[in-house]
Symmetry: C2
Subunit: 497 residues, 2 copies
């Protein structure tokens, strides 16, 4: 016999978010909005069309193109619905491939679209690692020309400068997956009999190369060989390459030193023998030339054969834009803020027909977090003028003042909290950063006036002003009620000039 | 023994969306973006702060406040993650309650926030019924004054007019849940011994009243009684009220006829005896007076005691804005485009402490779909100037032209498709709606010129122009290469003036 269950106490839910999720409030939101508007302006100018696909798709339509598949507990948020698996999108490219395949009969090709959207990754949450973030992408589907790839790099450059990142504060690094393919071919990794074994080793090598920034030469070398112990003491198994294979790959990584032509010449020696490598070199030269013709020189875009980009679906040119630290030296890079490349197989998954495509993704959240200078570009808007409540039976009068201010385009609000304590109203104005407070008590009402307090000046005076300044600058003004709007306008224009 | 499974053929995924989801493309997206920017401007002016909460929350934090719980197969999208239930948000109010409770020690109260966001409902999909849509909300948390409710109505009015809906094309209808409570009390439904039975009957009555628009008097009457058969032949069980109860409720519904003061007087007779009813009447009068003081008269906002609003959590004033059909008569309303009300219990769920709140929600998708006039207000931006490719070996030259046009702020692009067939390039320009095409073949190159084709004029001429016009208006211009940008500017300004 079952024990009778004890009646549960009614428990209150906890007001909290699941790990890996966060809120954005106030000027954080305004800054991001302004940034996205600016980016949209550049996309529009480049002739891209906006597209918004839904957050939820069939799991099989999205496919599995997640980066860094070696980490555990990672993937997508998915659930079953009427027998079918649905999933939250993990990037904006997989939904684009679905869209382009679905509409291939009616879209004008090359199809150029941009999109802003939320994506979700079911990663193990950790400090600074979020499971929801914003992606901002542009892609050209149905074009195989290097001009389409070059355009993506110029787009990145123009966007970074449009949102206020100065020249010299960022650098775009271009590579080509075919160069890496050529390298793997030369190292004898591509042609092994056991296909699965070959794929695994390929992946292990690319992931090791991708970690050059973080782990340095010795770390990469260990990962190419038997493996290495990381900071937490966990042992990461290596790719198991032999000494000559490792040497070849390290030589490739060292090709980054020197100028652009040097790099290409050295790559020619290293991988030019293989078909893939030769194509990779000629595509890289073509992209660099087209980028240059659009005014972007080696101070803003260089060839860097160590760039991998995590996503497995890239097939040709790949690039990454990094922020440089304000003080050069020490920390060379603040991480990738934009990147992309060519992926010729993604639409083919659906249609069986080859459909070349190339794209760019802007790391909006990272840009907003990493780049403090943006605060200057996307300054905060004015906080509201607060109309206070001196007499709770005259709400209509106060509300009328608010309405008149708003009609004149002034950001204004009525104090809607408990009006009994006037100090609390000024405290609220302070917390909101209100520049002015409007007051009409019984005396003012009888005189037909209102009192306007300059809260910014008031705070300044009480903290720092000399007695002389105190006398000279009025921070409280009594004006005739009909002059409320013009007096507020006058005071605001003074405060912000 | 199990049968050996047959090896599955590699199947291609279908490029399609789950039912109830859709894509938005091109000017649909631009129109919505312009609309949200306009709405944000009004919210800012009213002193609301933007907030963005994540799409995913703990299921128990969101609670179950879904509308219309009588429909089957309805609810939220939820799944288990590390043992806890996560869910996609179904509205923006439940996350706000979580946020306000979580930050109650640090937020300035009354807390005024607005938000734009995607919400998801796991409804049975059907024609025109979507499972993902955009919500656009403003709420004031921590204010019990009718001035906060009145402000929401004025906000609705100002937003509708800011996005181009003319006065007379919409109407806000105000009600108060306490009036409905008073009615239920008078009808003897609120005070039954069996609490669960009472709740169910209450819900059934409110849902019946809510259907007045759709089903008319007789339909509501049937639903209050034994029930009714709907168009599909399904029988909907009724609330099971007795004849006198039904008569009382129908009398209440008939109170809508006549002017504002008439309505209030009639409601006074009907529900003024009950405490809830009396409070409902005085709150309604206070809100109407404050709305009037902000310049919004009975041509834009009226009292309508039949307004219910689906969501279960409303506790005081509720309102709904409806679009009126362009030709009055016949179809009185195109459905609700904005609505909201007071909900004093939502934050209390977390904290145990009373926290009054009121809010508004704008039906962005419905507005964009229903209201064709918006097309005029949010007109489409210029399509790109297309630089064509006559010689595939001179991509750099063409790309340079594109870069110069873009640098001058002109929306421009290079044709990135297969350039062999020139006709295909012009067909692409046509599909994209390009106003101009730039051409430089070998002849032009030798002469140091470019050819600019006016595609709009070209199409017009070939379709409708007389021979006289054909002679007078040049639709193809050969200009010196250095004059490309100024010539394009000149032609564009002519085309759009």
């Amino acid at each position: 016999m079952k024990k009778p269950r004890r009646k549960k106490r009614v428990r209150r839910p906890q007001p909290r978010l699941p790990p890996g999720f966060r809120d954005y409030a106030g000027n954080e939101v305004r800054r991001r909005r302004r940034m996205l508007e600016t980016i949209a302006g550049v996309f529009d100018r480049f002739g891209f069309e906006p597209l918004e696909t839904p957050a939820v798709e069939y799991l099989d339509a999205l496919g599995k193109f997640l980066p860094d598949v070696d980490r555990p507990n990672e993937g997508v948020f998915a659930w079953q619905d009427d027998g079918a698996w649905l999933s939250l999108r993990y990037d904006m490219t997989a939904p684009l491939a679905r869209y382009a395949a679905q509409r291939r009969a009616v879209l004008p090709f090359p199809f150029r679209r941009y999109t802003f959207g939320t994506v979700w990754r079911n990663e193990k949450p950790g400090p600074g690692r979020f499971r929801q973030f914003t992606q901002c992408d542009a892609d050209t589907v149905g074009s195989g020309t290097p001009a389409a790839d070059a355009e993506m790099i110029v787009l990145a450059v123009q966007i970074l400068e449009a949102i206020g990142i100065r020249r010299g504060r960022y650098l775009v690094r271009l590579n080509n997956r075919k160069l890496l393919d050529g390298l793997l071919e030369r190292a004898g990794i591509a042609q092994q009999a056991d296909e699965q074994q070959s794929d695994m080793q390929r992946g292990a090598v690319l992931r090791a190369v991708d970690k050059l920034d973080r782990l340095g030469r010795s770390g990469v070398k260990a990962l190419l060989g038997t493996g290495r112990k990381d900071a937490s003491g966990d042992f990461a198994k290596g790719a198991g390459l032999s000494a000559w294979q490792i040497d070849l790959i390290m030589e490739y990584l060292d090709a980054t030193a020197g100028s652009g032509t040097d790099i290409v010449r050295r790559l020619q020696d290293l991988v030019g023998d293989s078909d893939a490598g030769a194509t990779g070199i000629s595509e890289t030269e073509a992209v660099m030339e087209l980028v240059r013709r659009q005014g972007v020189g080696p101070d803003r875009c260089i060839v860097d054969p160590t760039v991998v980009r995590g996503l497995g679906y890239y097939t040709g040119p790949v690039f990454e834009a990094n922020l440089a630290a304000p003080q050069s030296g020490r920390q060379p890079s603040l991480g990738s803020i934009a990147g992309g490349g060519r992926y010729d197989g993604l639409v083919q998954r659906f249609t069986g027909q080859r459909m070349p495509a190339t794209g760019i993704s802007i790391g909006v959240d990272r840009l907003l977090e990493a780049h403090q200078e943006l605060d200057e570009t996307f300054e905060q808007p004015a906080a509201p003028v607060l109309v206070t409540v001196m007499d709770r039976h005259r709400l209509g009068d106060y509300q009328e003042m608010v309405a008149q201010l708003r009609d004149a385009g002034i950001c204004a609000e009525l104090f809607l909290g408990n009006a009994r304590n006037f100090g609390r109203q000024l405290k609220y104005a302070d917390a909101r950063g209100c520049p002015l407070a409007v007051i009409q008590g019984e005396n003012e009402r009888q005189r037909g006036t209102v009192l306007i307090k300059d809260l910014v000046l008031g705070a300044m005076i009480s903290e720092t002003a000399t007695a002389e300044e105190w006398k000279q600058r009025a921070w409280q003004h009594e004006v005739a009620r009909p002059k409320l709007v013009s007096a507020v306008q006058e005071l605001l224009s003074r405060a912000f000039s």
